[in-house]
Subunit: 261 residues, 2 copies
C-alpha cells in the first residue's frame, strides 16, 4: 500500500501592494498585504514543491528596500524543517511561473529537478520591457557566470508542455495569460476534495468572481480564458480553489506543520 | 493647383485620471488631467476627421458623474464652427479606435463615411470583460434598435486593413496593442515636417520615451511593437510626434482656429 499524499502550505511572508497593482484597472490606491506561500506535496514518488516564494535579499536589492516581510521562520528551509524535510530532499520543484515571488527559494533545492512550462523558460530568458520586475530573480536560470554551476542548472531544468499528470493524482493545467507559460496545480487526496492551486492565474477569490486579471500580465485575452478554465476545472472535479495572494482566504488555510490529506 | 492641406487640432475637453491609470504598473496615485482632442484634416479631397473626442452625457451616464470636463465651446460642432465647417460637411471620420474618448462625436457627422480597422469593429462589437469602459459609447455601432438608423450606420461604415494612404499625403499606420485594430495617422504638409498622431498607441511622450504602455490595453506585446514602430516611423519620415493625452505637450499644440500647414 502506497503512502497517502499530503499537501502542506509553507508560509513565505508577505508583499506590500496597492489595490490597483493587484486588480487591473482598479482606481483604488488602498494598501494591501499579499501573502506568499509554497505548496509541498508529500507523495509516494517523492517530495514535490510547487513554487518557492521570494528571496528577501534579492527583493530588497532588485525591487525595493521596503515592502517585503519574511521572518527567518518564513524562509523555505525553516518551513520545510517543520515537516522534518531538508531542502536537498526535495525531489521536484515545479514553478507555476518564474516571477520572483514564485521561484525565490529554488536555489535551496540543490538536488531537485526543476520543472516549468517550455514557454515560461523562453519568456523568462527574454522578458518584455514590462516584465522586468516580475522576472527580476534570475538565480534559477541556466545563465550563471560559473560554467560548472550553469551546467548543473541546465541539467536539472526540465521543460514541459500541455496538461500533465506529473505524479499519480498531481495534475498541472496550462493557465497562461499572467505569463506565457503558466501552470496551475490540482492534487487529489484520499480524505477530502481535490485542491486546485490557481497560482497567479487568479491572485484572489474576488479576482476570479469578478473576472479581473492581475495588473501584471502579458496576454489578457488568454488570461480571461484561463480564469474561465479554472472555474470549469473546479466544477468538473469538485475541487476547492486555493489562491496565491488572497489576504482574507489565506488566514483560513491550514499551514505547516499542519497538512491536508 | 490643389489647395494645400491644413491640419487643425480641435480641443475636446479633459478627463481626470490617476497616474497608475495612465502608466501601466506605475505605483503612483498622483492625479492627472488628460486632454482629449480631434484632428481635422482639410484636404483637397474633403474634410477628414481623425477621432471625435468624448460625449459628455454618455460619459456621465456610463462611466462616472464626475471626472470629465467639456464646455459647450469644446463640443465638436462648436470647434468645427471655428473653421466655418458644419459637422455634416465632414467627408470622412477615421477612428483610431472605438474607445469612448475617440468616437464620442461621430454621431454629429451624419454625412460622413466612418472608417476604422476591420479588427477594431469586430473587437468593439464583442469586447473582452476588461474593455467594457473603453467601449462604453456604442452610439456609432450598427446595432441601433431603429432599423432605418441601423441601416444608415452600417452603410456608412467602412473597415480597412493594413497601412493605407487614404488621401494624398494622409497615411494610416497599423499600431495595435492598446486595442486590436488601432491606427495612428501621419499627414504630410507643404510647409513643415510631417505630423504623426500616435493616438492611444502612446498616450504621452514620456510613455514612448520609457516604453510604458497605457494601463488600458489588450495585447501588451504588440503594444510594445507599435511603440517601436512609431519611433521608427518618426525617424524614417522626420515626422513630429503628437500625443493624444499628454498634459504638458498639449499646452504647446496650436489649436483651432489656428492650423498647421
Amino acid at each position: 500500500m502506497t503512502k497517502p499524499t499530503k499537501v502542506v502550505i509553507l508560509d513565505g511572508g508577505a508583499l506590500s501592494a496597492r489595490e490597483h497593482m493587484v486588480y487591473w484597472q482598479s482606481a483604488s490606491d488602498a494598501p494591501m498585504s499579499l501573502p506568499v506561500y509554497s505548496v509541498l506535496v508529500m507523495h509516494a514518488d517523492g517530495n514535490f514543491l510547487f513554487d518557492t516564494g521570494f528571496d528577501l535579499e534579492k527583493f530588497r536589492a532588485n525591487i525595493s528596500p521596503q515592502g517585503a516581510i519574511q521572518t527567518p521562520a518564513q524562509t523555505l528551509p525553516q518551513q520545510l524543517s517543520l515537516l522534518g524535510i531538508a531542502p536537498k530532499n526535495i525531489h521536484t520543484v515545479v514553478n507555476s511561473h518564474y516571477h520572483f515571488d514564485h521561484c525565490g527559494g529554488n536555489h535551496f533545492c540543490s538536488g531537485a529537478v526543476n520543472v516549468c512550462h517550455k514557454a515560461e523558460l523562453a519568456a523568462a530568458l527574454d522578458p518584455q520591457p514590462f516584465e522586468s520586475i516580475g522576472y527580476s530573480d534570475r538565480g534559477f536560470m541556466p545563465v550563471d557566470p560559473d560554467p560548472k554551476r550553469q551546467e548543473d542548472l541546465a541539467r536539472r531544468l526540465q521543460t514541459i508542455e500541455g496538461d500533465q499528470e506529473i505524479a499519480k493524482g498531481v495534475f498541472l493545467f496550462e493557465t497562461p495569460g499572467h505569463t506565457l507559460g503558466h501552470y496551475s496545480m490540482m492534487v487529489r487526496l484520499s480524505g477530502r476534495r481535490p485542491m486546485l492551486f490557481t497560482a497567479d492565474a487568479s491572485y484572489t477569490r474576488r479576482a476570479l468572481d469578478t473576472m479581473v486579471l492581475s495588473t501584471a500580465h502579458i496576454d489578457p485575452v488568454r488570461g480571461i480564458g484561463s480564469m474561465r478554465r479554472l472555474q470549469s476545472l473546479a466544477d468538473e472535479h469538485d475541487a476547492e480553489l486555493f489562491f496565491p495572494h488572497d489576504p482574507e482566504e489565506y488566514t483560513n488555510y491550514l499551514k505547516a506543520p499542519g497538512w491536508y490529506n
